[in-house]
Amino acid sequence: MPKDSVIGTSTKRREDKRFITGRGQYTDDIVLKDQTYAAFARSDVAHGKIVSIDTSAAEAMPGVLAVFTGEDFAEVGGNPAGWLIHSRDGTPMTEPKRPVLAHGKVRHVGDAYAAVIAETAEQARDAAEAIDATIEELPAIVDLRQAASDTSNRVHDEVASNVCFDWGWIEDNRAAVDEAIKGAPHVTTLELRNNRLSPNPIEPRCSIGDFNPGTEDYTLYTTSQNPHLTRLLVCAFVMGIPENKLRVVAPDVGGGFGSKIYHYGEEALVLAAAKRIGRPVKWTCSRSEAFLTDAHGRDHVTKIELATDFDGNFIAVRTETFANLGAYLSNFATATPTFLHGTLMAGNYTVPNVYVNVKGVFTNTVPVDAYRGAGRPEATFSLERVIDKCARELGIDPIEIRRKNYIKPHQFPYTTPVALEYDTGDYDAVMDRLEAIADLSGFERRLNDSASRGKLRGLGISSYIEACGIAPSNLVGALGGRVGLYDAATVRVNATGTISVMVGAHSHGQSHETTFPQIVADRLGIDESKIEIVHGDTAKIPFGMGTYGSRSLAVCGSAVVRATEKIIAKAKLIAGHMMEAGDAEVDFEDGVFSVRGTNKNVPFGDVALKAYIPHDFPLDRIEPGLEETAFYDPANFTYPSGCYACEVEVDPGTGKVEVMSFAAADDFGNVINPMVVEGQVHGGIAQGIGQALMENAVYDENGQLLSASYMDYTMPRAYDVPMFKVDHSANTPCTHNPLGVKGCGEAGAIGSPPALVNAVIDALQRAGRSSVTHIDMPLTPSRVWDAIHNS
């Protein structure tokens, strides 16, 4: 067996050969015979009543084949919310319909109210511009708090208020938390905004609808993180197509970060249009459209209070958050600020009293939903910022106050006051690793060095915990989830011993095609080059739920293990038959079956061949073939955790922040491919630095998106990030999945923003700006300069 085919080895990414050489096959690369093109007419006001839509000029334009408006979809279903939230008073959230095309009202800039299908993309765009809509502008609802209190001006007229839900977690904790805070020796309060982000995957969305009138089969090629989930939503909720009549293919996908989890109206439109005109219909999102229509992330306004004794022991945490939902409920929009956020508010700490209140609010902005980290970055940021402020107020070292309150190894499994049961962890050990790799003992020297160059240096620390491996279906069902969150894998051993593994997870940057074969190779003792991963096509793969929430390895990887175990069990039957022994006497090791206590053995390849040439099989006992499917539903979330340290230099003259070093010590449980894990951490931290320093999706008071191009929306570049120091040696394997893995995809984006902001505050405090206790993200030079000079 080659050395790099086992778990724990940094096998090179096999995906990279096709990506680097331009041989990837993205949705927009697909060209179907007689393909036509769709373009959308989108609202340029944030809120308006559709008085009339005159499509006659557009219909008369060259190449135009069809024009659709909201009327055409009045009879089809709405795009549903995947999670039912109940308010504190027990009432269910409001669920206004999210139509394929806006009907009656437009509710955000970019809301599509008509679509044109034409022979070429240019003709479609020209005709879409010729659609003459009379839209009576209504006052835009943009400010979160104002939206929550305003019942006269509503995003959705059919519901009584812009507040979708007013959620308390856990409501039974509320009185005790209020009491604890009231009587606490010290309370630290912080008000902050978790800035709104545009997701910006490198590949904009794209969808092709195809319909075969002969078979009445639909095919949807689309940029999705979860083809089966998209198929379910399109079929069961929106279009009413039988699931067996729709194939969803998500080929190579250039990043998602959450934004491609969701079903969008454009997907339904190209399917309906393909059926009407009898030809394939492609829509390719422009970058400008992506800013206006991809689900945004974050956008919380939060007040957090941390009660402690004078020694810094945590007594209680209480938060009140206004979470922006945008104009419509995107598929996971209601779960993200609630169960993926409030349940993490105890952090890594033994804090006996926690209460979280979240008001989900409709506004005339693009829908907001999960974005890398999804709720957990918001929880971590609030908590780690208030802890840092508290430590400063009490004069306690930021590492010491965290260590003092960490849950200790002997306390696991540990049930938090916000209802999660952490299975395992050793936060002190991870902090030990951080202190080592970040060279914290050398900070004073670096501080002086910065000072000699006129720069203000600061050190910021954060810890995080996240709930990953989403999710136990029985738990999410009890909490209002409307889908199961298992995953599935089929392992097909071919006659010549090669293996195809069909998985429900979808790889759009996560390296599944490299990592999953390592698991199978490890279990079967065969060369990983003989193993191929198949994903992204509902016609080929079992019904899995896709990739998000750092779930692929913990959930789908576990399904791969289970299916492989079934393969081994079946192969033992066959091997036993071949060696004239009962399967209970057959051992399997390093790819060879042997009969215990004898020298009889057959290699895996011979068994595979025999499975498909069953000339002498006892058919009452052994079926031909060697193919097994497993569905895996996790017993619990997994709980990756980590400690991050960031050092910054602030230029007091300009307010510019430079990230000088960034160290990340994570506990991801067992690691399959260390290189892939490091890459995930690097990418996550870069995204966190982007959020903390640069990125900001800004609406003006009229609901116009001002940051809708790369002239105004700043993404981090390579020169904005330092060389990262990454460690994942202090591991506590997950106790409840067969691989002992926890997930690593979101960690960097969760742990990094508070570390960076803490570092900037530290720099300013060290420079004597003692009144600067918080700066809202992004920490642009103007905001930092303002804090320095106006404090």
Binding site: D44, V45, A46, V109, D700, Q704, L706
Partner: protein, 187 residues
Amino acid sequence: MKLSEERQIAAPPEKVWEALLDPDILRQCVPGCESMTGNPSEGFEAVVTQKVGPVKATFKGQVKLQDIVEGQSLKLVGEGKGGAAGFAKGGATVRLEPQDGGTRLIYDAEASVGGKLAQLGSRIIDSFTKRLADQFFQRFQETVEAGQVASAAPVEASSTATAATANATPAEQETAKKKGLLGRIFG
């Protein structure tokens, strides 16, 4: 975007008032104006071409006159649609006061943009709007002071861009090409 400015015009208030309600004068003064039709009681319709940062568009808009106090003040409210480029809208209150034998023209304007104009041009829209307003009132002042109210061709409600640019100097034509937005509001 809000702005307030004042301007001293060497012409009596009644002449300035007359010019303010004259579509032909307005057409000459609104930067980028290709046509201007209508009358004070029913409002004006204008076509204006402008380039804002990376966005170039022809705006078709209506301007209504409100709160008219004859010879003293009025409010202009308008909106222009630029197709795929988005829209611009706004309003301005204009007051005239006799001063030093001439007229003090005081205006408070506000403008907002939407669609691509907001998405791509928001960083430059403020300075752009101010420049347009300056250009408009500069030309308005020059036109009124040059006594063109009296000597200009008779007002034709159907004046066209061709006529306008034919009368303009090359420099004015160049300026006209560069303008637009607030012009619509004042146009």
